[in-house]
């Protein structure tokens, strides 16, 4: 199906009929057998609501996960489903109005972390988070992505390769500055490198110590490694904004940079959604098998600790661990962080629902980048806060900078006394020579 050229994400206040049509076509363009089966299967049991932090915390039925894709399900039934011809003939399914679609902007963006907890409870096996991602594709092509800040960052990312619009020179300077500040040798744009770590702009801006930590660990391992500034963006804001073309462009940029230097391992940083994108979609965007493997940083650390390439001192302390949804429930990497914490002698106090059934921090799926969503985000954060406090731990480790930032912000807003820290930095701080 042809999709019209992507208009800028404007978050128009009054979408036109043309925008509505674009949204529906954008959604339908992704439908394959799995999505069709999912859209055809819902029995309206409502259980998904009980797994969603936004419904559980507010009691507002509009936040029922499967309801968040209702206009798109209607479009599928009317335009593409097995009995679409009957619906068309009899006019049984009314068209989605522009006003209705505008209401769905909040449901699809502000109140969905794409955390997939609803997918875990669904008795029919519907991956609702995946359907939300497809619905966002429709919203994006219709120019209905929330502009503040999600849409703006996605646009900048697509045009410059970085959500903050950093030039190659600025990035090179930033990396060398971090090296100088933290006294660690940085490898940047080397012609050949076996390991290529990608870069999160959240880390660059907010947690530069994480950038230093990965360099320190790779140096400790004696690895041939290098950052690449010609394809580095591990944020992929486009993914959560729903910009399929931008998402592909960013992903391919990273792949090509890694191929150019003969990488054998591409390392995704402490970030959830970017791991999902690269691990499962990069090869599809590339159109063939990749000549390197893709691992999340915790997987590399756990592997290094197991084979002796990484040696650490014990760092006994009382802590809990927050699973990033995309790494644990959706990414199959729940075990690695726990291996790392055990290697460091951390007294781990697991939260209720730790691992696969964890609750999102509230910021996932780009919600952290939507300014107006803060009150809703804070409600989701309250679950996490309660769970952390119930463990009695002094500190929360996590392996996602997005989660870390959301927990930091939530903590500051509520006067919380828990320290939120990076697992990567914990390892870097306790390397044994």
């Amino acid at each position: 199906m042809n999709i019209a050229p992507t208009p800028p994400a404007g978050g128009a206040i009054h979408p036109s009929e043309e925008q509505v049509a674009l949204a529906m076509r954008g959604f339908l363009a992704d439908i394959g057998p799995a999505s069709a089966l999912a859209l055809d299967s819902c029995i309206h049991c409502g259980r998904c609501a009980e797994a969603c932090q936004f419904y559980v915390q507010t009691g507002d039925p509009r936040y029922t996960p499967i309801h968040k894709i209702a206009p798109f399900k209607q479009a599928y039934e009317r335009e593409m489903g097995p009995f679409a011809f009957v619906y068309k003939l009899l006019g049984l399914t009314p068209k989605v109005s522009a006003g209705e679609l505008m209401q769905w902007q909040e449901l699809l963006y502000d109140s969905c972390n794409m955390c997939g907890r609803c997918s875990l409870i669904c008795p029919m096996g519907i991956d609702i988070a995946d359907l939300v991602e497809q619905a966002r594709h429709g919203m994006y092509v219709a120019g209905m992505t929330p502009p503040d800040f999600l849409g703006v960052l996605a646009e900048k990312e697509k045009s410059t390769g970085s959500p903050f619009g950093m030039t190659t020179q600025q990035l090179q300077d930033a990396l060398h500055d971090i090296g100088a500040k933290y006294d660690v040798v940085m490898h940047v744009d080397e012609a050949q490198a076996e390991i290529v770590p990608t870069i999160s702009s959240i880390d660059l801006k907010t947690y530069p110590s994480s950038m230093a930590a990965i360099a320190k660990i790779l140096n400790h391992m004696g690895a041939s490694w290098s950052f690449r500034t010609d394809g580095f963006d591990a944020d992929n804001v486009a993914l959560t904004a729903g910009d399929r073309a931008g998402q592909r462009k960013i992903t391919l940029g990273v792949v090509r940079a890694a191929v150019a230097c003969g990488a054998k391992t591409l390392v995704m940083p402490e970030c959830g959604h970017s791991f999902t994108e690269m691990r499962w979609e990069a090869a599809n965007a590339y159109g063939k098998n990749l000549p390197f493997r893709i691992v999340q940083i915790t997987e590399l650390l756990a592997e290094g600790l197991a084979n002796g390439q990484i040696r650490v001192n014990k760092a006994p302390q009382n802590a809990t661990y927050h699973d990033a949804c995309q790494l644990s429930r959706r990414g199959g990497a729940s075990a690695a962080p726990r291996v790392i914490l055990q290697s460091l002698g951390v007294d781990l106090h697991e939260m209720e629902d730790a691992g696969d059934a964890n609750w999102c921090c509230g910021g996932g799926g780009g919600v952290a980048l939507i300014k107006r969503a803060q009150p809703l985000r804070d409600k989701a954060f309250a679950i996490k806060k309660r769970q952390v406090e119930a463990t009695g731990a002094d500190k929360v480790f996590t392996s996602c900078s997005g989660c870390r930032q959301t927990l930091d912000h939530g903590g500051k807003a509520t006067g919380w006394n828990k320290e939120v820290a990076s697992l990567l930095e914990l390892v870097a701080d306790n390397l044994r020579d």
Partner: protein, 219 residues
């Protein structure tokens, strides 16, 4: 032609035809959609992914423990209703006789008293589920005409079955004809609405289980 002859003859043939053709069309329409090739290296091989699909088909019958406090009512009512239906269909003597006539297969039936009790419990669960659907804010928001029609088309066979076994109202032949026709109406509607979940539930869970196992994700 009596009503019973109509129910057993042309109505039965027509409903079977619509059921088979409708289900086939619905499945074909899904299967024929374009599949995207997957190039990413899976975490697990094909046998493990098939195992993951099979495991998910079974595991989703019982929700994870963490979800129970919030969905216990929904799970208990719907599970009891579904199990009740299965007991009535596969344990009731007249149904076993019908299956024997159609397929040659047979097995011992459950005592009539047990079937009556199960039928009563099933009916009660269905009424409770309807009341819940009409009152729960989430269910009210999600519900469509299909939900209520599908409920009615399952409720009527159970109700007429109970009336038939007790022969409480009307003559046996009329009640039997109404019971058969109510089942036929259910068969006719099955491919077009949510009753199709009787088959899609296995496909949906299996596919999700395989896809998630490929990623090593939680199923």
């Amino acid at each position: 032609m009596t009503l019973l002859e109509f129910a057993r003859g042309p109505a039965f043939q027509a409903s079977v035809l619509i059921l088979i053709a409708g289900v086939a069309w619905r499945l074909v329409a899904i299967i024929l959609l374009r599949r995207r090739p997957q190039f990413a290296e899976p975490r697990h091989g094909l046998p493990a992914r098939i195992g993951g699909g099979a495991a998910t088909i079974l595991s989703r019958f019982v929700p994870r423990r963490t979800f129970w406090p919030r969905i216990a009512v929904s799970v208990v009512l719907s599970a009891t209703f579904h199990i009740g239906l299965a007991i009535i269909v596969f344990g009731g003597a007249p149904h076993i006789l019908l299956i024997h006539q159609l397929t040659g297969l047979t097995w011992p039936s459950l005592p009539r008293g047990v079937i009556s009790l199960v039928s009563g419990v099933t009916l009660a669960c269905m009424i409770a589920l309807l009341i819940r659907r009409l009152n729960h804010p989430v269910l009210r928001l999600l519900s469509t005409a299909d939900d209520y029609l599908s409920w009615l088309l399952v409720f009527l066979p159970v109700l007429t079955g109970i009336l038939l076994s007790g022969e409480t109202i009307g003559g046996y032949a009329t009640l039997l004809a109404l019971h058969i026709i109510s089942v036929e109406l259910m068969m006719i509607w099955l491919p077009f609405g949510k009753l199709m979940h009787a088959g899609l539930v296995f496909a949906g869970r299996g596919l999700m289980g395989m896809n998630f196992s490929r990623k090593g994700a939680a199923t």
